[in-house]
Symmetry: C2
Subunit: 230 residues, 2 copies
């Protein structure tokens, strides 16, 4: 367990949050960390100082925080644990995709690297979790491709859903019912003005979703066929 057990659960959560906010390299603001972890900003100030003392963060008072290389590695280890566990719960134990997150959130702090590696091996070394998020490799690299949100697709554009960002179970269940899932192909049929609902085609179905929801659906665009017809 290299570098394990030395980090407490709260510390791992901070690092994960900072990584996610800063998407790899970027910085994170105190308030944003606080909000993501549902803590008071004052608590974050305190913790962030300690993490900086441990060399996990670069911290400048009043100017937010950045992961150091060591902090980034720790964050990615936790993220790997989280996502492998999610994938394993879904694959091997039949968990529905809207409930893997909560369970993984606790297990990620208790599972050894060996367990996580065995899980990954057992389900065939998955590259993404059930929401389509990429799983960091053991040596600390991740696919950092930035995908387009469904909310940004123009009318007529098609794409394959690669990922659903966010873990609110209700949202996930709803998207699941609509069959908006990683791997599904969708086409934007129309968009109402003033940020109104977006009408989609997927397979034989047609459906309408709001822009807030659409923003969570990340797609890999396909060749745009709209041009051919108009």
């Amino acid at each position: 367990m290299p570098g394990r057990e030395l980090l407490t659960a709260p510390v791992e959560d901070y690092l994960k949050a900072i990584y996610t906010i800063g998407k790899g390299t970027g910085a994170a603001a105190t308030n944003e960390i606080a909000q993501r972890l549902a803590l008071a900003p004052a608590s974050v100030s305190g913790m962030v100082r300690r993490l900086a003392d441990q060399g996990l963060l670069a911290y400048e008072r009043y100017h937010g925080v950045k992961l150091t290389e060591s902090g980034r590695r720790a964050a990615l280890r936790t993220l790997r644990r989280h996502r492998v566990i999610e994938a394993y719960l879904a694959e091997a134990l039949g968990y529905p995709w809207d409930r893997v997150h909560e369970e993984a959130e606790r297990l990620e702090h208790a599972a050894s690297d060996e367990l996580v590696d065995r899980m990954a091996a057992t389900i065939g070394e998955p590259e993404v979790d059930p929401h389509g998020a990429p799983i960091p490799t053991k040596d600390g690299s991740v696919d950092e491709t930035v995908y387009t949100s469904l909310a940004d697709l123009i009318v007529g554009a098609s794409g394959v859903v690669v990922r659903v960002a966010g873990e609110d179970p209700e949202m996930l269940r709803y998207l699941g019912e609509l069959s908006i899932l990683p791997g599904k192909r969708i086409t934007v049929k129309s968009r109402a003005p003033y940020d109104g609902p977006i009408t989609l085609g997927s397979g034989r179905h047609e459906m309408s979703i709001g822009p807030a929801l659409a923003a969570h659906v990340l797609v890999a665009p396909l060749a745009d066929r709209a041009g051919k017809h108009g």
Copy 2:
């Protein structure tokens, strides 16, 4: 998660320890709890008072502690989690029996009851863990059969190993090498005097083990054939 998340990991560990020491109904002494959890006795005094305040223990100063019904139920839930996880790690993930304990020790505090139930279902509702210890059922009952220790078997007696008590990995590996495992049949061939080594037959093999080790091997005695021959 009925009754979950309310108990911290240390609390669950205390209850489990007290249950194991008191084997169900019995009481536990402060020092014994301290030793089992590798804590100072003073720490136990403090915690035990708090657990009594929460109604999990009956506590009389200077006279040890007893689980209440509610404490016993909590202890058994944790024990179930622990043993199901051990069984699952061995069955589904190929963990060797000498390492399941350590991993389960951490996971048992993080796993939800649902996860544990899914694990149990996936491997066919096991009744014992990889060491042969009985798994409490969901409704809180356990097999409390008391088995004979191999150290107590007389020369000529035969039995089936039902359980190996204790989790020291080195001991488990050693017993594994000797093939002294749950389900194996053994016969006591001879015993050296003054608590000396015990010679066993198991299958075609013959081997000798010390009494301290033999005390950890619990057997279900079979009809004694020694009488027939002498």
